[in-house]
Symmetry: C2
Subunit: 348 residues, 2 copies
């Protein structure tokens, strides 16, 4: 067992290099004027001793922790939660946020979803990113009260004034999707939405209604409980398909809903896309690998992560930054909506 020799400090480096700690600090951080020979010597000594600056001491001095925290909606805390709702999206945006934060020399603290508001107050952070805030999310009130800057991915609709959010161009995405479905022959389109209150769901329903009208589509909306996910979507889709005037196209808000629709269609001997067009509002491997592969709108979690973290860090550093940011929500065409001989539709 190695005896953990204490980690060298700036004082150790100064002593070995035969200079003051001021000079070491200047040399290592390229501040002030330091003789280039001195700088070289200091750098060499620091390297040799394995010196790494103590981030805690630096934080205490600067008043900044270089840590931003991430708040996700309750996922995986319980099997009864909406854990599976676009899990692929949450995992991708989470790892992307960590990467972008590190690229900007910030650590990403992952807050537990069940954290109480009181615990949130105790956390040390310079800023926060909140993905899919609830309506009137109380966590945002706590952060505001603590004067901790934050950026949300999708806005909290109850805070219409705040510009600090990154949001999808849902209208643009649904416009392309519904235009495409219409071109493929759809007339009666059904949206499988969730009963969740987050902004994305609310805004998607609005966009669906408006843009279906624009494209002369008969619109219908079914709200599916998020639990038990595919099963609920499967049942709801089944009822719709068994009705007197069944839809000829179904749009599912999430990937799991979309695969539920596929199962319902398969059970009824309906061909996709021949008898029914199917599309998803979230592009994940579930829809890419379905048979047939399912047309989807791409939420581009990596771009959302980059936009959100860079907006937050600009705020932290007092730089000007465009806010809010609207992100493209591109349509990815796949076989589930492509009918032979039809106009393939216009996707960008």
């Amino acid at each position: 067992v190695a005896v953990p020799r204490p980690r060298p400090t700036i004082t150790d480096v100064a002593a070995v290099a035969g200079v003051s700690v001021t000079t070491v600090s200047h040399a290592l951080n390229n501040k002030g004027r330091v003789d280039s020979e001195t700088r070289a010597r200091v750098t060499a000594v620091a390297q040799r001793l394995g010196y790494r600056p103590n981030a805690t001491a630096r934080s205490l001095r600067s008043g900044r922790s270089a840590i931003i925290s991430l708040l996700l909606p309750p996922l995986g805390a319980a099997r009864r939660s909406n854990e599976a709702l676009a899990l692929d999206f949450y995992m991708r945006i989470t790892t992307a946020i960590a990467s972008v934060a590190h690229a900007h020399s910030h650590g990403l603290l992952l807050l537990a979803p069940i954290q109480t508001l009181q615990e949130l107050r105790a956390v040390t952070m310079d800023g926060a990113v909140i993905v899919d805030p609830n309506d009137a999310d109380p966590r945002l009130d706590v952060l505001s009260d603590l004067v901790i800057p934050f950026v949300t991915v999708e806005r909290d609709l109850s805070r219409p004034v705040s510009p600090w959010h990154v949001s999808l161009d849902i209208d643009g995405g649904f416009d392309h999707l519904l235009e495409h479905l219409r071109a493929q022959g759809a007339r009666r389109v059904c949206l499988l939405s969730s009963d969740a209150s987050w902004a994305y769901a609310v805004r998607a329903v609005e966009a669906f209604v408006t843009l279906a009208a624009k494209h002369s589509l008969d619109a219908r909306i079914i709200r599916v409980p998020v639990i038990p996910l595919e099963g609920a979507a499967h049942d709801a889709a089944g009822s719709a398909l068994d009705s007197a005037e069944p839809p000829d196209a179904m749009v599912a808000l999430t990937d799991r809903f979309a695969t539920g629709v596929m199962h319902a269609a398969r059970e009824r001997g309906l061909d996709v896309p021949g008898d029914l067009l199917v599309a998803s509002g979230c592009d994940t491997f579930h829809v890419r690998e379905a048979r047939p592969p399912i047309t989807a709108l791409d939420m581009q979690p990596e771009l959302a992560a980059k936009a959100a973290v860079e907006m937050l860090i600009a705020r932290l550093e007092g730089r000007e930054v465009d806010a809010p940011r609207m992100l493209d929500y591109p349509l990815v065409l796949r076989d589930s909506t492509r009918r032979a001989g039809s106009d393939p539709g216009r996707a960008r």
Copy 2:
């Protein structure tokens, strides 16, 4: 725009309460002897001023950051990675680790998967949890070199000496599973494994071979590239089912492989469980919601998270702790392996 009045410090509390900072510190942390009336007054003042101790200053003093970091295998970094392999498992263990860490007053720093070893050196942390380390994982060498304690979930097989890991009782789980399959009439069992080198996959293959022999089963192993996941498993399963002596049971290492097998069976008109038994080594909603629901071994990520974090924190605090920890890997029976009229098998 509110002017961010500076956050009150222990000095402010002391001044308002008319005592020294020493007394405030003692009162608030229940250290030393403080008159109960004084303590009450100090507490009230702290409360009124909204005092929250500065964690950075505390860390500098104590030399501990109260932060542990989490290293995941590369997930989601690129579509070509094994992002989808048991995504449900990674998301659940990640959020569970965050919860347990917070329950022990530690923050969880999520490290980006693509982090270089040099960047890893710059991170401030008291300890680390590594989920599914690679074989001879170089990140563990870095942590060792920095004298940062860590715990892995599943061991790094190239470090046979280290006791600091939490591992599944893979032998026990496969014993139950193969006994059950045999009881349901299976004779030729095929394992769909991945070509990944992590410990779980390696150990599962060994267990499969040994325990198939114990239960008089003809064993066969197919290694599936992890990409493109379900598709590859689907194709590999299809080839096996089309062979001269097709298996009558298939065990898939991960949930996505299992659903790939289901598709291959369905395409061939094979009934599950009538013609083919199907089971998964990972219990996720994909297998729970498949039709029919798929029998699976449960990796219990929440228990693994708790065991790993508590082992790590015990190490950090210098307490004795059992290591390594072996976790139960229970069998969850579902319709994909239950034949009418058969002995239902013995699951615990």
